[in-house]
């Protein structure tokens, strides 16, 4: 980088620098004006004058300061420019060709900056600029060369330029260039380094024919032509794929799988080896999470090429369940739906109802467990649904066996079976049978179950048998070790029928008991077509489109609808921008990577001068900075002048100098509700630093305060968070202190503050949040409490009983549960008469705050353990007693003697 590449826009102004010595002389002879004071003792001063001789001149450094400021002003007016770029050849207009397709989005700011730099240079050379943007515009206009524009207008057009989410149209750009005939043109090409089709060579030739080419490209932070292809759906995983123009060095790219609200649910790194054009990596997520994915993005600069939208094709499938015997079907361990529900629920949305109700909504898979569908409307509807693309999974069973017998006798064919069944069923292994239950054979390669491990322990003891035909093997997805099919399938229209030859419960086989069952069903569901797959021929209107930066927004005006079946074969263009198409509930995604030709690096343009996009000619105007420096110097001069005349205290000068310095961000003190703690009675809690625990405590004390306000005369304001040692604790009658396991020991200031607080009558409720029934909820807090309490003056403690004032301060309580019951609460032994024997510390582990907590919706977000309304009520009552105890001390303790007093009064 040329360090001294400094040039001036108006160099003649620099002659004014010659006047600086004159300025020096002028300043030297003018002393500053004195301050005028009236003073009676002037006579005494007059006699002293011989002591100090008057310096008539301003000191040299002040002069230098002023001359420097003047010099800065002159330099600033001369408009110096640092790192001005080289001039272009030719003398005519500059033709600025900019690739604004998808590949330019990743580093678009750099490109815009480079283009702006070109305009700066053209402006200095006094040349006009013609613009050519090579991608079709948002309104569908083909690329055209603009007329030669004055620089401000070109600047305006350039600032309105946004990257498109489709590829540049080299052929149209070529046609636009053909009409250009201006002598002396120099061409500047801001290239995205991709060919975008076969016309690049002709395009490059057209550029060189017009004039000397300067190509601005290269060394971009984003690899040229990197694009995230639509992910491939595999059985268990989503495979993120990426393509780019082959690079000489290996690269790695981070792909984030994001849900609709922008949270990243998964993260994989795709490694692309040197010289390779593509790479992929599998995203393995639990089905629940995978179903929530809405897009994959490449981490880093946002661009349409780094986004792949996911639609229903990558989503979960609703599964309908229907059993023959509805009453016993749900019975635990015996009903077929019990097993099916267990197997499918984790990753599929399950629905139940009549066939009519189920098919009334979008449904991918319908599972019939030993349900015979007799002729009639039901069967017709089912058949229609299967023809449209539904996946019907049937399980055999006694009813089906019986129906097959009837069907065989009447030689009828059940169209809802993939294969014809033999009458009745086959029993393997039984009291009167020689043969044994049979294990499973390995899955055939063509089966969707291929690759699943076959457990040895699965035995089939009973099944329905398919009529042996030549095609039976093709139709069978799973078979027993003896070759009889276990799962058969048949295609019906766009859909499919699958039959398990055993029951969905454990009556006929061990299959439903094994993990294999779950895996098989999962694979089956993935085989199914997504819901709401629109009918062929439906044209889907563009709903939301990705712009060049990969943000979803309104579709550009040129966007047109796209036929549903054409999605797979349509490359993106201005007419079909990438984005979401179709109605709200069945969006189809069209991605840039769809049908995109492999990105191919553009060959070098012969004879072109190459400028780098990154390290290149970034011009910096120094004028404004010089002007600012000059103003700062003059302000400094003024301050010094004021100080010399005694008008300013030194402190004021220091403040002024500090103000001149750039103001750094002031670290904001953590804003806590400490506005005026003394103005209202309020509870306090000690901040633990664990945001979750502090949130619970805040909610809990708010809930308790509200409860107390409703039921007692006490009026408590919203609770405060306090930090002992920093905040004044004396305003709070009661401090709640939840202990967290990782609590750091108290520092000296905090210890002093807490001890002081306790000795002055404050009460601290220490909660280890894990005793009694909550044993194990907060491991390590007891140890933490020991650690914390070492410096605290804790009096001897006894378990709280119902004779204690705390048990009768407002309600009469026999137990003191919080979120957890049981366990003991510890209070000071009642022999110390200090502070009216009010215990300064109450220690328990019942997580009271959680029991008291009320969230924004007015609910109690934390369940009590073991539970019940009663326990929560008791928790609140304990809280009320606690507040009363804190506010009134042992006042209620005196009431213990009321009977005796009454008796005495009666006498």
């Amino acid at each position: 980088m040329n360090f001294f590449a400094l040039s001036f826009v108006s160099p003649w102004v620099l002659f004014a620098l010659l006047a600086l010595p004159l300025l020096w002389w002028l300043l030297r002879v003018t002393p500053p004006a004195p301050l005028v004071e009236r003073f009676p003792a002037i006579q005494l001063l007059r006699d002293l004058l011989v002591v100090e001789e008057t310096p008539a001149h301003t000191s040299w450094w002040l002069l230098a300061l002023r001359v420097l400021a003047a010099g800065f002003v002159i330099l600033a007016i001369a408009r110096p420019v640092l790192d001005a770029g080289a001039a272009f050849g030719g003398s005519g207009p500059v033709l600025l060709v900019i690739d604004d397709g998808w590949a330019s989005a990743g580093d678009f700011p750099l490109r815009a900056q480079a283009a702006s730099g070109v305009l700066d240079r053209a402006e200095r050379a006094g040349r006009g600029v013609a613009l050519l943007f090579t991608a079709t515009s948002e309104i569908g206009a083909k690329p055209v060369v603009s007329p030669v524009l004055p620089i401000p207008e070109a600047r305006a057009r350039l600032s309105a330029l946004r990257p498109k989410s489709w590829a540049p149209d080299r052929a149209s750009a070529l046609a636009a260039l053909a009409g250009w005939a201006q002598p002396g043109t120099s061409v500047v090409f801001v290239s995205d380094e991709l060919t975008h089709g076969s016309d690049f060579a002709a395009f490059a030739a057209a550029l060189t024919r017009i004039g000397g080419v300067t190509k601005i490209c290269c060394e971009t932070p984003v690899p040229a032509g990197r694009v995230l292809l639509p992910p491939r759906l595999e059985a268990e995983r989503l495979v993120a794929r990426l393509a780019q123009a082959p690079q000489a060095v290996p690269s790695s790219h981070v792909v984030l799988a994001q849900s609709g609200d922008g949270r990243s649910l998964g993260r994989v790194v795709i490694q692309v080896p040197a010289g390779a054009g593509s790479g992929e990596a599998a995203i393995v997520l639990p089905p629940e999470l995978r179903n929530r994915l809405e897009r994959l993005v490449i981490e880093g600069t946002p661009s349409v090429a780094s986004v792949a939208l996911l639609d229903e094709r990558w989503r979960h499938r609703p599964v309908g369940l229907l059993a023959g015997d509805i009453i016993s079907a749900e019975a635990p361990l015996t009903g077929p739906l019990f097993y099916l529900r267990r197997a499918l629920a984790p990753y599929a949305e399950l629905r139940q109802g009549t066939i009519e109700a189920l098919l009334g909504r979008d449904l991918s898979v319908l599972v019939l467990a030993d349900r015979v569908v007799s002729e009639g409307a039901e069967r017709t509807a089912l058949l229609q649904w299967v023809e449209k693309g539904g996946l019907l999974v049937r399980f055999a069973g006694p009813r089906m066996a019986e129906a097959s017998q009837v069907a065989a006798r009447l030689s009828r064919v059940d169209p809802l079976l993939p294969v014809r069944l033999l009458a009745g069923d086959r029993q393997l292994g039984g009291a009167l049978s020689w043969n044994q239950p049979v294990a499973l054979a390995a899955f055939p390669a063509a089966s969707p179950f291929a690759g699943l491990p076959v457990p040895d322990e699965v035995r089939v003891s009973r099944q329905v048998l398919a009529e042996p035909t030549a095609q039976l093997a093709e139709h069978s997805w799973a078979a027993l070790a003896d070759g009889t099919p276990l799962v058969t399938e048949a295609v019906r229209g766009a859909g499919r029928i699958v039959l398990f030859h055993v029951t969905a419960n454990a009556d006929w086989s061990d299959l439903p008991l094994s993990g294999l069952f779950v895996e098989m069903l999962r694979r089956l569901v993935q085989v199914s077509v997504g819901v709401g797959s629109p009918l062929s021929g439906t044209v889907l209107a563009p709903a939301e489109s990705l712009d060049g930066f990969g943000l979803l927004g309104a579709s550009p005006p040129a966007a047109r609808g796209l036929a549903a079946e054409a999605f797979a074969a349509t490359p993106v263009s201005a007419a079909h921008p990438p984005g979401l198409y179709g109605a709200e509930n069945s969006r189809q995604a069209l991605n840039l990577g769809n049908q995109l030709p492999e990105p191919e690096a553009a060959p070098a343009i012969s004879g072109a001068r190459i400028e780098s996009l990154v390290g290149g000619a970034l011009e910096r105007a120094l004028g404004p900075w010089l002007m600012a420096a000059s103003v700062a110097l003059l302000v400094l001069d003024m301050l010094i002048g004021l100080m010399m005349r005694g008008l300013l205290g030194r402190r004021v000068v220091a403040v002024g100098l500090v103000l001149l310095l750039p103001v750094r961000g002031v670290v904001a003190q953590e804003a806590r509700a400490q506005e005026a703690p003394a103005l209202a009675t309020r509870l306090g809690y000690i901040v633990t630093g664990d945001a979750r625990v502090d949130g619970i405590t805040q909610q809990g004390l708010s809930g308790l305060s509200n409860y107390v306000n409703q039921r007692a005369a006490a009026a408590l304001a919203a609770p405060d968070a306090v930090i002992p040692g920093l905040d004044d604790l004396s305003f709070y009658p009661l401090l709640y202190w939840p202990i967290i396991a990782e609590a750091a020991p108290l520092d000296a200031a905090a210890q002093t503050a807490l001890n002081e607080y306790m000795s002055r009558g404050g009460i601290i409720l220490i909660d280890t949040r894990g005793s009694g029934t909550g044993e194990g909820f907060a491991p390590g807090t007891e140890a933490a409490l020991e650690r914390l309490a070492t410096g605290l003056v804790v009096p001897p403690l006894i378990p709280l009983d119902n004779e204690h004032v705390l048990a009768r301060a407002f309600y009469l309580l026999g137990e003191f549960p919080g979120r957890f019951g049981g366990g003991s609460v510890w209070v000071q032994r009642e022999q110390d008469r200090a502070n009216d024997s009010v215990s300064p510390v109450i220690i328990g582990g019942h997580d009271w705050a959680s029991a008291w907590a009320v969230d924004g919706a007015g609910r109690n977000p934390y369940a009590t353990v073991p539970g019940g309304v009663r326990q929560r009520q008791l928790a609140y009552r304990f809280g009320v007693n606690l507040v009363m105890y804190a506010l009134t001390g042992n006042y209620k303790g005196d009431q213990v003697h009321v009977p005796a007093i009454l008796e005495r009064l009666g006498q």
Binding site: P34, L35, P40, Q43, L44, L49, M644, G646
Partner: protein, 293 residues
């Protein structure tokens, strides 16, 4: 200081203005005097007078007729009745009214002249309460006594708007009279010495209180300052006042030492009072000094 040529209307206006200023001045003086009167008990000493002072045992040498028989009859010893010394003395008071006294700096709230007047009146109040007579040191002034005397004194004090030269006027004083002078005493020492010496030759004794503004005492200015006098002195431009501060302090100390020496030689007491200090302290010291002499 009645000027017969002044139009009666003008005179009335001036009296009105004085009346407006008088009560606060009186109040301030009384407030200052009240604190002192409680601290010091007048001239409570044995002397010629009517009021009873004390009984003391009869000592050889006492005249026998001085024995108080009524008292002595109560015991075996003879007691002598002593009366309090009561003698009315005339105290001449003067406050500098020159232009240089009508000034205060930012550091002080009151003008030097106002402070001088307050001190003068408060002292007069104390003296009048003690039965003394006070006279303003001014040609034609009358000796005043009693509560009414104080008000007359205040009226006379405010009436006199003379642009003095910063030194007491030449008034015929009785021998051995007491004189109290309030002023800034910034005039050249030789002038002051001639004036004090003239007083001492009468002979009279008394006190001089130098009243200074804190700015005069400390010279708190800095930087390039043009000083202008208040008594038509030529202005003085000083480039860096802060450099001069120490030299000024020495100069002022020399002036005060000179004053102290002049006063000491003439049998006068000398004290310095700064207007940012409370007047009570100065008054107490002054009154105590007057009482003991």
């Amino acid at each position: 200081m009645a000027d017969a040529l002044i139009h009666p209307w003008v005179f009335a206006r001036r009296a009105e203005a004085l009346g407006a200023r008088l009560p606060p001045l009186m109040v301030a003086a009384e407030r200052v005097a009240a604190t002192v009167a409680e601290g010091v008990h007048g001239r409570r000493r044995v002397g010629l007078g009517d009021s009873f002072w004390q009984f003391r045992p009869f000592l050889p040498g006492d005249e026998a007729r001085r024995i108080d028989w009524r008292k002595s009859a109560k015991s075996d010893r003879a007691f002598v009745r002593e009366t309090e010394w009561e003698v009315a003395q005339t105290v001449f008071l003067w406050a500098d009214a020159s232009a240089s006294m009508r000034w205060h700096s930012h550091a002080a709230a009151v003008e030097k002249r106002e402070r001088a007047e307050i001190l003068l009146l408060a002292l007069a109040l104390l003296l009048l309460r003690g039965g003394e007579r006070v006279v303003l040191m001014r040609p034609g002034a009358r000796a005043l006594s009693g509560r009414v005397g104080l008000e007359q004194l205040a009226g006379e004090l405010l009436e006199g708007d003379d642009e003095g030269v910063g030194l007491p006027p030449r008034v015929n004083l009785p021998r051995h009279a007491r004189v109290v002078l309030f002023g800034d005493f910034l005039a050249p020492l030789t002038e002051i010495q001639s004036e004090i010496g003239r007083l001492a030759s009468v002979p009279v004794s008394g006190h001089a209180v130098q009243i200074l503004d804190p700015a005069e005492a400390l010279l708190p200015y800095a930087g390039r300052v043009r000083f202008e006098g208040l008594e038509r002195e030529a202005p003085l431009l000083i480039p860096r006042v802060d450099v001069l501060r120490e030299a000024y302090a020495e100069k002022l100390a020399a002036q005060q030492d000179g004053l102290r020496a002049i006063c000491g030689a003439a049998g006068f007491g000398f004290a310095v009072h700064r207007t940012d200090h409370v007047p009570e302290a100065a008054l107490l010291a002054l009154y105590a000094a007057l009482a003991t002499r």
